[in-house]
Amino acid sequence: MTDMTSTHPGAADLHTDTALHEGAEEKRLGLWLTLPAQLLVLFIALFPILMQIYISLTDWSPLDGIPWYRAYELWIGLLNYADLASDPRFWSALWRTCIVMAICVPVQFLLGLGLAILFVDDFRGKRVLYSTILVPMMVVPAVAGYMFFMLFQSGGPVNDILSMFAGRPVTIAWLSDPDLALFATIVSDIWQWTPLMFLILLAGMVSVPQDQQMAAVLLGASWTRRFFTIVLPRMKTIIIIAVAIRVIENFKVFDNFYIMTGGGPGVATETISIYIYKVTQQELIWGYVAAIALAILIVLSIVSALAIKKLRGAQQ
């Protein structure tokens, strides 16, 4: 991308697409005419990231009284990255985020798939139920955080319901116990994002060609066989998209976690986003934050690249 003027990737594209209609002259002219716009787009897209890279190589903090562009005065090279590699709080936040993801995404996927299976067929009250199911997705995540904060209070509805079943007062301190707090925050994420998974999977499921399914049934396939040999394989692309969206979003999970527990008790629910936020707002070491952000960007880019590669495979 950066050596655009020397290798003319834009010109190469034109060559394959429109070589029959345009001469080399016109192609070159076209490139020159669009070059400023292309550079501008590149600049806008890349500037924040380039700035992050720059800051991450310094020990700059907004409190130092030096403008950001003079941060080179505090150049420390890769020291931030070295710190990061040996920062136990970073690694535990990363690990915790992965655990949250490893629980949330499969549960959301299975619930969403189950709901989608129910909703491909018609039944009474389908439309009302459909709209109802989508409501959690519309709730502002911060509000969802407050809702679950209330639900999981020791005198809150969750304990009340449990008391009813247990026949004796239950007063579990959900949000003060490290494991239970993580459980509660995970529940809130599942509540909020299963509908999205459902919506995407349902869209994929209804677009599986009806005649192929009929053909399978006419050939004697049972429901399960039809589902696993026709429906699911045909949904592969959409499944990859849905899971990738949720993996990436889950990696960035913040609002409801922060509001429910503030990352606590201790660091029991501190995800990577919450950690970054705390380092930024409370410790104000922005050079270090930039290093964390870049590390995460790299991880997410790898995840996206894998997903895109899978997608390409699925589409062939």
Binding site: P209, D211, Q212, M214, A215, A216, V217, L218, L219, G220, A221, S222, R225, T229, I230, P233, R234
Partner: protein, 347 residues
């Protein structure tokens, strides 16, 4: 099929159909789009439940039998090939679904592949195969489970005209090989005429006539069948049968008259095939030529006289009048078909 009917809400897609299909027979359901052909097929296959009436296979009532248990082979309009699988997996799908032992699956799949010349592409992915291979694959996939009856819903409608003739011939020879009972849906009378043992002509959800292709062509049961079968369809002119001294004739007003073999006095629709027009300078019928269409071996004359219009198909060697000239011709009494002017049924 007895008294079979289907309504969608207030709309009657199929009304009281009675049809018996013999074992090994190739029956074509022929009718214009929207006449209820697919609806009929889907009910035979069990994809739709009839509103009333019965479907039986070999005397066994099929109402309520789920489609997986009917033993119906169905070839969809677009073949519904499982494009995410290989050709082999497509062929084996039905047998695997029915838990046939693995060794037998392998044997039967290679047999059918051999028969349909699919062996070279058994391990290719089904996506991106050409239409005629897809058609063979669709037939093979259904045939390999040895269905009692084979249903094909407009299998050639997505194929371009040039290829259709090839596919028709292939399909017919496959049917002969398998000696399969086949019901073939089409809106193309040429397909029905060339392939079917019997044709069932439908319109607006009604079964109008069942018969061999020649039967339906020569003795249409009503004016719809008369017009629909044949290219161009039968000419129908309004006329009046009179018993003059020379014998029975039909008086066609401006177009002249034509002697008849039998009939009763009264208003009729006088029908004759365009192919059965005999140019005859002394003929009793006369019409004006409005258009002359020359299509290779044949010439089609568009004729008009008064309210009447008709077509005549002649050999290209026959001298034909020019546009605007009068054309005199005769129709042999044997070739005349009369229809009741009111009911439009054959007399």
């Amino acid at each position: 099929m007895q008294n079979l009917g289907k309504r969608f809400g207030d709309f009657t897609a199929l009304a009281d159909m009675d049809l018996t299909i013999g074992s090994g027979e190739f029956v074509a359901l022929l009718g214009p789009s929207g006449c209820g052909k697919s609806t009929t097929m889907n009910m035979i296959a069990g994809m739709l439940d009839p509103t009333h009436g019965d479907i039986s296979f070999d005397g066994r009532n099929m109402n309520g039998v789920p489609m997986a248990k009917r033993g119906v082979g169905f070839v969809f309009q677009n073949y519904a090939i499982f494009t995410h699988m290989t050709v082999r997996d497509n062929l084996a799908y039905g047998l695997k679904s029915q838990r046939v032992p693995r060794a037998e699956i392998t044997r039967r799949v290679s047999e059918i592949a051999e028969l349909l010349q699919l062996t070279p592409m058994l391990d290719r992915r089904a996506a991106g195969l050409s239409v005629n291979i897809l058609q063979r694959l669709a037939i093979g996939r259904s045939a390999v489970v040895e269905p009692a009856i084979f249903l094909l819903d407009e299998p050639l409608s997505n194929v371009d005209a040039a290829f259709r003739a090839v596919m028709r011939a292939e399909l017919k020879s496959l049917q002969r090989q398998f000696k399969q009972t086949m019901v073939y849906v089409t809106h193309d009378q040429l397909e029905a005429m060339t392939m079917a043992d019997r044709i069932a002509v439908m319109d607006h959800g009604k079964l109008l006539q069942v018969g061999t292709p020649l039967d339906v062509y020569n003795h249409p049961a009503d004016t719809f069948v008369a017009r629909f079968i044949g290219a161009p369809g039968m000419n129908l002119l309004r006329g009046r049968v009179t018993g003059a001294d020379t014998g029975l004739t039909v008086d066609l007003g401006a177009a002249g008259h034509c002697p008849l073999r039998a009939g009763q006095g009264g208003d009729v629709l006088f029908g004759f095939r365009p192919e059965q027009v005999h140019p005859d300078p002394a003929g009793p019928m006369e019409m004006t030529v409005t258009t002359v269409e020359r299509i290779g071996a044949r010439t089609i004359l568009h004729l008009a006289a008064g309210d009447h219009s008709a077509k005549a198909v002649l050999d290209s060697e026959t001298p034909v009048p020019d546009q605007g000239e009068q054309f005199r011709f005769a129709v042999t009494p044997d070739d005349v078909r009369l229809f009741d002017a009111a009911t439009e049924r054959a007399l």
